[in-house]
């Protein structure tokens, strides 16, 4: 069940590796895998939630359970620089029209790269325990750090 910021995806999402084993008839010739169901004309101009991903596409599998820590995103501080979007190795930063929306928690593995590359002060993304409550985390967000002058 998808819990993403974009609402429910067109396809149900499942744990990676929990897919049903393909039998004999479904094994594709030459291990050719279709990324999308049916004709996918103009797919590059469609948003992820509008695409009809095939079961073979990793988009339909979640790796949420792999995470120990998770990034939490603070809209109030973010300057929409898109740095995290560029650097995220799992395309798990969701941005629309150059505006940050948040984290795709189905595909984020909790690596923390987004936090490392965030340039704001305080950071707009911070890592918390997977069990932490996001609202509480935002309520207790750190203050701007003053540069120490020697």
């Amino acid at each position: 069940m998808s819990t993403g910021v974009l609402g429910t995806d067109k396809r149900g999402i499942r744990e990676l590796g929990a897919e049903e084993k393909v039998g004999w008839d479904e094994v594709s010739e030459g291990v050719v895998l279709n990324s999308f169901e049916g004709v996918a004309e103009d797919i590059a101009h469609k948003k992820a939630e509008e695409r009809d991903y095939s079961d073979f596409n990793s988009y339909t599998a979640t790796v949420a359970s792999w995470r120990i820590i998770k990034p939490v995103y603070n809209r109030d501080i973010c300057i929409d620089c898109q740095n995290c979007w560029v650097w995220c190795p799992d395309t798990s930063i969701i941005s629309r029209d150059k505006q940050m929306l948040g984290i795709d928690y189905d595909h984020c593995k909790g690596c923390g790269v987004c936090v490392e590359v965030c340039p704001t002060n305080p950071k707009s993304l911070l890592m918390y325990s997977e069990a932490a409550d996001n609202e509480e985390a935002l309520a207790g967000w750190p203050q701007k750090e003053k540069k120490e002058k020697n």
Binding site: V31, V32, N34, S35
Partner: protein, 413 residues
């Protein structure tokens, strides 16, 4: 639009030129090649056809044969009709990618000009490279002369690209003996040849942007086994398509090809099984020996080396008159019986006749296969038939200097 190539009804072509003309007539989209003796002229000629406007295609120069077959895999996955040529060491370097091509079910045509594998370095013809490819999942078809190199190269596209097959095809001819021997060749007109081959129908091509696909995915123990079994089944099932394409080709040209060629087997007491240009020499020797000495010799050749025609070999050898079958392997077996011996013996074991089976290694590195030597081998098999048991070692060497080399005796109590 490519220009038409003026051809005479009869041309005097060598095997390389014949194969290159077939490639031209099939209007290949991409040739990625790294030329090597003795197959060089095939891709060299193809480059000239492109340069002179006889083909609308791309010639991709690469840095090695590994790169050549990789380029072919990419171009074929992208959705083009693709072919290349190689021999010997080049074939060996391609081997890794040969398995990729067949596993990815890409109908690439590889015209192989059979040549010995080093060491010692040798440019001349034997079947070492052909045998190296025998587990690679490709269809392997064998031409015995230049006319056949032309005919079977055209057939190779039809077979491999058939939607029920979708497998790469090697079309083999013997280095120098066939590739560099000019003879009468009766080509088809460009239009007729192209119509026979047909337009290329791409499947899951990467250049179809409406259906993005992943080629060459990884599978572990969960799917790999089913994929390989399915690939093997496709190879086995291609037998009927090969028969069909050969039948169509006969209807068009009158020239008949079979997965297993057999000559004078109806009443044969002794049979030789062999591959390549030597088949024609052996047929000549058998005819002469029948006339001169009354020895009833027949010749059998698995023209389709892969998928191995177990069915037709068994059928061909299942005659009441047949007593001895000698399999001639033109590749150093590396501490085993020759591959042809092993595979033909397995088929012969299921016949009623259960003929005696012997093995000859011959012609390594281009050693001439002489009519007289073929006759000597035939007479020796006749002696086995008369004695009722194999009177020599089971595996011997033909045309070898030095001591008579032989291995394994028949166990007789």
């Amino acid at each position: 639009m490519a220009k038409e190539f003026e051809l005479n009804e009869v041309e005097v072509w060598d095997g390389n030129y014949a194969a290159s003309q077939a490639l031209r007539q099939a209007q290949i989209d991409v040739v990625a090649a790294y030329p090597i003796t003795p197959s060089t002229p095939i891709v060299e000629n193809y480059g000239a056809y492109i340069a002179n406007g006889y083909v609308d295609g791309e010639f991709v120069m690469v840095e090695s044969e590994h790169g050549a077959m990789s380029g072919c895999v990419g171009a074929s996955a992208a959705g083009g009709r693709v072919a290349t040529a190689t021999s010997s060491q080049g074939f060996a370097l391609m081997t890794e990618v040969l398995y990729q091509a067949s596993g990815m079910r890409l109908p690439i045509v590889l015209t192989v000009v059979n040549r010995a594998l080093a060491s010692p370095l040798n440019v001349r013809g034997d079947h070492s490279d052909m045998y190296l490819g025998r587990d690679s999942g490709w269809i392997q078809i064998d031409a015995y002369d230049a006319q056949e190199a032309y005919d079977l190269a055209l057939c190779a596209f039809r077979i491999g690209e058939h939607l029920d097959v979708r497998l790469p095809v090697m079309m083999h001819q013997d280095g120098f003996t066939t590739s560099h021997k000019a003879q009468n060749v009766y080509p088809l007109k460009d239009e007729v040849a192209y119509k026979f081959v047909g337009d290329y129908v791409p499947v899951n091509d990467m250049l179809d942007f409406s259906r993005p696909v992943t080629h060459g995915a990884q599978t572990e123990e969960d799917w790999h086994y089913e994929h390989k079994a399915k690939q093997h089944k496709a190879l086995m099932d291609s037998r009927s398509v090969i028969d069909e394409v050969f039948a169509d080709f006969k209807a068009l040209t009158g020239r008949e090809y079979k997965r297993v060629e057999s000559y004078m087997m109806e009443d044969a007491e002794v049979a030789l099984v062999l591959l390549g240009s030597s088949v024609e020499t052996a047929v000549l020797a058998a005819k002469q020996l029948r006339e001169e000495e009354g020895i009833k010799v027949g010749i059998v050749s698995p023209r389709c080396f892969r998928p191995f025609p177990y069915d037709l070999i068994r059928e061909t050898l299942d005659t009441s008159s047949l007593k001895v079958v000698s399999c001639l392997d033109k590749s150093a077996p590396g501490g085993a019986m020759g591959a042809l011996f092993n595979e033909v013996s397995a088929a012969a074991y299921t016949t009623q006749a259960r003929p005696m089976m012997t093995n000859y290694i011959y012609g390594l590195g281009g050693r001439d296969f002489a009519v007289d030597e073929a006759k000597r081998i035939m007479r020796e098999q006749k002696a086995h038939a008369d004695a009722g048991h194999i009177t020599t070692p089971i595996q011997q060497f033909s045309g070898l200097r030095g001591p008579k080399l032989g291995f394994f005796e028949t166990r007789r109590s």
